[in-house]
Every structure is written in structure tokens, then in C-alpha cells.
Amino acid sequence: MDWHLFTASIQGTAHRAAALPNQDAVGSRGDPAQAGGAPLAVAVADGHGDPRHFRSGRGSQLAVDVACELGCEVLAGMGGAAGPDPVRAQLAQRLLPGIVHGWRAAVAEDLDHRPFSAEELRHRHPGDDAVVAYGTTLLLAVFIGRWLAVAQIGDGDMLLVEAGGRVAVPVPPDPSLHGRFTTSLCQDDALAHFRVGALDLDQAPAEVLLLATDGFGNAQATEPWQPGVGADLLAFVRDRGIDWMGEQLPSWAARCASAEGSGDDTTLALLVRSAPPLRP
């Protein structure tokens, strides 16, 4: 399977105005060309903007790094899985606890190297665990063999477009998410708020996968926006070509990050398959 990966991350105008850095992060591990069937992991994360989460930009970067590394490691053997259940089980029982634990460890190490300053401590709420300052969402997609394993905590969007035109959201929705409230990796019960999915790419031949922080969805005027965006993404593959899409991706993110869009940091990871799905 030959995927092309393009990423873009643009600081939101609202953040720029508030002198906040871009608190989103994006990362990947593995070779998109997937020679030999090795895993490919891609993740985006959105650090919370509230001053209480004053190191969320660092938290989102750590989340992305940990998730991609562990994603490849833990799911490496799942390429031969016969059904989605073993994949989901591996996700829920081994990968997610690993990510939560690994992220907290990474946060602790970061804090060791760089303790909170007096200025930072002024924003800390009484009783807050240190990890709260690093609070972030996380969206992770791992391609392994014919499986696509996905996991998400917090807001943000994943969009899958199949070759036949069907547009789907691969993770189950979280009914508790709406408006300004988001679930977070820094919560004590973060594991309970993750949503997971496992898709058989032989059954649902994906052509495009988009991971986006919520700056993207919030900048769409139509509701629901997923069908129109998905249709356009597929049309772009056919009519404009993959290279063109990669060139345009930063401007798409920039539009969302601008006042014309949501004004929020917007991060996109776009995966486009460059050849028809191969039979194993």
C-alpha cells in the first residue's frame, strides 16, 4: 500500500492576537510507502487554549510523539489479524494504556528538565495535577497490513473517504463533546474517554484519510460538512492530483486558522492512497 502523507499546522489568528503560540502538533512514524508492510502511524493533537493549560503546546507535541512511537510498536504484529476484534482489543488493552502512561512519563521528564516558573504557577488551579498544564486532545491513525486502527480523545475530526465515494467517520462519536468542552489526555480517567475503531481496508477501500484538529471543523459553514468535504477531497485526487493537494494543504489550514474561518490553530494530516488497493 502506497500512501502519501501531507501535514500542515497553522497558528490561529485568535492565538496570534492573544500572544499564544500554535498549541497544535502533528507527527508520524513509519514509511508511507509501507514497503514490507511495516506500520504507519499518524497523529494530530490540540493543546487546550485556556491559561490553566499553560504548557499544552508541549503536551500536544509529547502526545503525538508517544502515540506514533507506541502505535507502531504495539500494533506491529496485528497485520495478520483475522477480524477487527483482536485489533480493537490490542488498541484498548495495550496501546491506549501505554499512550496514557507514556505521555504522563514524558510530561514528568519534561517537568524535571524545566520546572514551572513563578509566572506559570500563577495560572495553575489549586489541586491541579502537573499534567493538567500539558492538557491536550489526541487523534491517532495506524495503518498495519489491511487494518486501519484509530483512536481519539477530545474534539477534532477524522474523515475517511472510500474509493467509491462513501464518506465515513472512523471513530465513534462522543456525545459529551459539544461546544467549548473537550475531553483530555490529562484527565484522571482519560482511558475511559478514548474512542477506538478498527477498519478492514479490504472491505472499505480507503482512498483519503484526513485527521484534523477542531479548528478545521469549526471553520466549516455547512452542517454537516463531512459529505461535501469528503466529496471534494476525492474529486481533487481524481481531477487535480495528489501533488496539488499536498501543495494546497497549508492554504486550507490557513483559511481555517484565519478570521474568515474559526480563528483557531488548525492542524491537518492528509493521507492519500496513490494506487488502487492491492489484494494481499
Binding site: Q220, W225, G230, A231, D232, L233, D239, R240, S251, E260
Partner: protein, 240 residues
């Protein structure tokens, strides 16, 4: 035999006409620089007398002209509707490295056609889109803008035409904008065809705005070089 009256006092003349809003959406992207922009400006200026002539031949409509220039973002080139007979065309200019984002242009026009902005007695508007390339809208944005326009009764009822400068610009997106399979995109294969296409478009838009007209027949007459070919008669393959 001349009938003379001398200078007597008469009541004021005129007829009350209903507004027909004619809005041009012009591509001002970077690729329009130079010859194309010049030709487009010339073509629009040449198109105006056609509209004035049509307006004078009938008693129902008064044409009020506006123009949107779009590249990365849209802006009103002529924001307040101007009676076409009074209009002096000021040239459009391209935007350096400007893109071709059409969705926001549709949305801007939609704002002008909202019920609180459009006169109750206005006739169905006429919209003309001119572009030299494919839309560069991020995914979902072309559709969102077009939906905003078509969400309004005045947007749905509007007669919509498109002129593509260069065959490459003749895209599915333009057909979506037109919204009528009988009505083709007018294509200017070269710069010197732009004026003719706009002239055809202006005639078509004014005729198609007439009430009760058979728009599809008119589209066939005006916008196609030749009538659509009838399907070939069925081959009798029972005979071997």
C-alpha cells in the same frame, strides 16, 4: 408631417419598472494578469450597451448592475447597484498570485440577495461567472458557498451563466453553478473570443430573464453552436 406643440407643460413621463439585478463575478486571480484581464475589461464594457439596448426595448425591467471581483477573497467592485444605462465601467485588476476561490464569492452575492436586502418587487436576478481556471477552494468551501446562494429563493431563481476563459477552465464546478444541464458553459478558446462570449451571455441572460420564456429552448438557441444531435437510430442487429 411634423406635429408641433410649442412648449406646453406636460405631466412627467416614464414607466415604473421592476429591478433586474445583474451581477458579474469576475475572476481576478494571478493568472488573469495581462492580456486576459485587459480583454475581460474590454468585453464587459462592450457588453453593457447590449444590456442597455435590451432594457430600452421592453417596459418591464430596469437593469441594475453590480460586480464582484474575487481571488483569494471576494470584494465588491461595484457594490451599490447602478442603472446599467448610467454605468461607466472601471477596469478590474488582477491580484498578484491571487487564487480562484469561488465559494466566498457566491456567499457574498448571497448576502446581497437575502430577503432583507433585495427589493420585494425585484425580478429574478441574473448572475454571470467569468473565470480562467478551476476553483482553488479548500474542500467543502465551493459547495458551502454555492449552498448559501441556493438556499435563498432569489439565488435559486436567479438565471446563472458562466464563461470559461480557456477550455481548461470549463469544469464541473461551473456546471454546478449553472445548475441546469441544458445550459452549457460558454467557452472562450482564446482571448479574442472573450468579448463575443460575454455578448452572447448578456443576450442570453436578458432573454432568459423574461417571464414565461422557455429557458431550455432559449439556451439551445443562444448558447449552443448547433442544436443537440438527435440520438442515432437504433441498429437492427436481428439481421446478420
Amino acid at each position: 408631417m411634423t406635429i408641433s406643440q410649442g412648449a406646453t407643460i406636460m405631466p412627467g413621463g416614464g414607466i415604473s419598472r421592476r429591478p433586474l439585478h445583474f451581477i458579474v463575478m469576475a475572476d481576478c486571480s494571478g493568472s488573469m494578469a495581462g492580456e486576459k484581464m485587459q480583454a475581460l475589461n474590454f468585453a464587459i464594457a462592450e457588453m453593457l450597451p447590449n444590456l442597455v439596448a435590451w432594457e430600452q426595448e421592453q417596459e418591464k425591467a430596469q437593469i441594475l448592475f453590480r460586480a464582484v471581483a474575487f481571488a483569494d477573497t471576494p470584494r465588491w467592485h461595484i457594490e451599490e447597484p447602478v442603472p446599467v444605462a448610467q454605468l461607466r465601467w472601471k477596469p478590474l485588476h488582477h491580484v498578484e498570485r491571487g487564487r480562484t476561490n469561488m465559494g466566498p464569492a457566491f456567499r457574498m452575492v448571497a448576502e446581497a440577495l437575502a430577503p432583507d436586502r433585495l427589493e420585494r418587487r425585484a425580478l429574478q436576478p441574473a448572475l454571470l461567472l467569468v473565470t480562467d481556471g478551476l476553483p482553488t477552494d479548500p474542500p467543502g468551501q465551493f459547495g458551502a458557498g454555492l449552498s448559501a446562494l441556493l438556499a435563498l429563493p432569489a439565488g435559486r431563481a436567479a438565471v446563472r451563466l458562466a464563461v470559461a476563459i480557456g477550455r481548461d477552465a470549463d469544469s464541473e464546478a461551473l456546471n454546478r453553478f449553472i445548475g441546469d444541464p441544458q445550459v452549457p458553459v460558454l467557452v472562450a478558446d482564446s482571448t479574442d473570443e472573450i468579448a463575443d462570449r460575454l455578448a452572447t451571455a448578456s443576450i442570453a441572460l436578458s432573454r432568459m430573464s423574461e417571464v414565461g420564456v422557455d429557458r431550455d429552448a432559449l439556451a439551445t438557441q443562444l448558447l449552443r453552436a448547433a442544436p443537440p444531435k438527435s440520438p442515432p437510430s437504433a441498429v437492427d442487429d436481428s439481421i446478420v
